[in-house]
């Protein structure tokens, strides 16, 4: 059983937070939710884990009891477990530690563009942040996205900080392609869409071509992936999805094969990238 009983942590947090100041609630969130997670991160203090997860969509210390109870009623842990067992079998995938939490429904960007559901994955652990009314297909879409990362990261093991921008582009592209293929074209990140060959070649040249080998600890890495002042939103994801979409049209293969295909093999098949 690799799904952790996060429902108990959440209950403990909402039971204890009443009557506490904002600052105390923040610290309570840190000690009840993030401290147990620190065993899964090497040498990182709970405060940094908390900050990092909050930025990626974890529920904030403002979560109230009513919302958390509604969230619990959805039985997300057992739903996720079923999806996980199926995926693991179908892709012969690894057994990461899985943590399911409510998402932060106060964040507009998260609500508008991700329908309130998001996640974060590492080679050995996976986080899902779900809104209190997440539909089954939405959970499947999110899980497939994150779990595909874990499979690919395990097929191509490196130290986490040695993964490059190109690795991230292909990783995200594969994840979004699988979501659309298995769950439907309306699922996944709503900003990711098909673009013309010319635009793809142009974005590739502008943002990726000369920086493919930039490792993920470089500050520009995440800015290109997620977007930033002057960098279009989710540009790394859009480029990745478009590359995989073209690759799979040209050389169709199974998902398990795709997950194990090298970046270079994929790129070699896409001649439009170079504007040919």
């Amino acid at each position: 059983m690799t799904i952790h009983a996060t429902d108990k942590w959440i209950k403990k947090f909402t039971d204890k937070k009443n009557g506490k100041s904002r600052k105390e609630q923040y610290l309570l969130h840190q000690s009840i939710i993030c401290e147990p997670l620190s065993h899964f991160f090497e040498d990182i203090q709970p405060a940094f884990i908390q900050e990092h997860l909050l930025r990626h969509g974890l529920f904030s210390p403002n979560l109230n009891k009513e919302d958390s109870e509604q969230w619990m009623e959805q039985n997300y842990l057992s739903k996720v477990n079923k999806i996980y067992q199926n995926c693991k079998k179908a892709w012969n995938g690894p057994e990461p530690a899985i943590f399911v939490f409510p998402s932060n429904e106060e964040i507009r960007e998260l609500k508008e563009w991700y329908n309130g559901n998001t996640g974060l994955s590492y080679p050995d652990k996976l986080f899902l942040f779900l809104q209190k009314k997440a539909g089954n297909r939405e959970i499947i879409a999110l899980f497939l996205h994150e779990y595909s990362h874990i499979c690919r990261l395990n097929y191509f093991p490196k130290k986490e900080m040695e993964y490059t921008l190109l690795d991230a582009i292909i990783l995200e592209g594969i994840a979004e392609w699988i979501v659309r293929k298995k769950v439907g074209s309306t699922y996944g990140n709503k900003r990711i869409e098909m673009i013309s060959d010319e635009l793809l070649a142009d974005l590739w040249q502008t943002w990726i071509a000369s920086q493919q080998k930039m490792t993920r600890d470089h500050p520009k890495h995440d800015m290109i992936m997620y977007g930033f002042n002057g960098v279009p939103k989710n540009v790394g994801y859009i480029i990745g999805y478009n590359i995989i979409q073209r690759y799979m049209t040209k050389q169709p293969c199974s998902i398990t094969t795709l997950l194990q295909t090298t970046n270079q093999h994929i790129l070699a098949a896409i001649d439009t990238l170079l504007g040919k």
Binding site: E51, R55, H56, L153, P219
Partner: protein
């Protein structure tokens, strides 16, 4: 322009700050108080990493606080020249 005004006008932009003791800090300006500027140092996320579906910027901002009085120079970091 005072360091305070400069920082206020440029929240969200990447900067390089050199303090009088010679230390160099690079990061994104998150907020400014009358006595300090708080930056998100570029190496802060190192180690926590992971592949996220989205990045939402929510948080308390455990930034690095630098006293405005300690700043010797402050300059923008253009995206392509880091």
């Amino acid at each position: 322009m005072s360091h305070y005004d400069f920082c206020r006008k440029n929240v969200g932009r990447p900067v390089k700050i050199v303090t009088h003791d010679g230390l160099v800090h690079r990061g994104i300006i998150r907020r400014v108080s009358p006595s300090k500027v708080f930056i998100d140092p570029f190496d802060a996320r190192r180690g926590v990493g992971g592949y996220g579906y989205g990045f939402f910027g929510y948080g308390r901002g455990l930034g690095l606080g630098i006293a405005l009085g300690a700043i010797a120079t402050i300059a923008f970091l253009p995206f392509f020249f880091w």
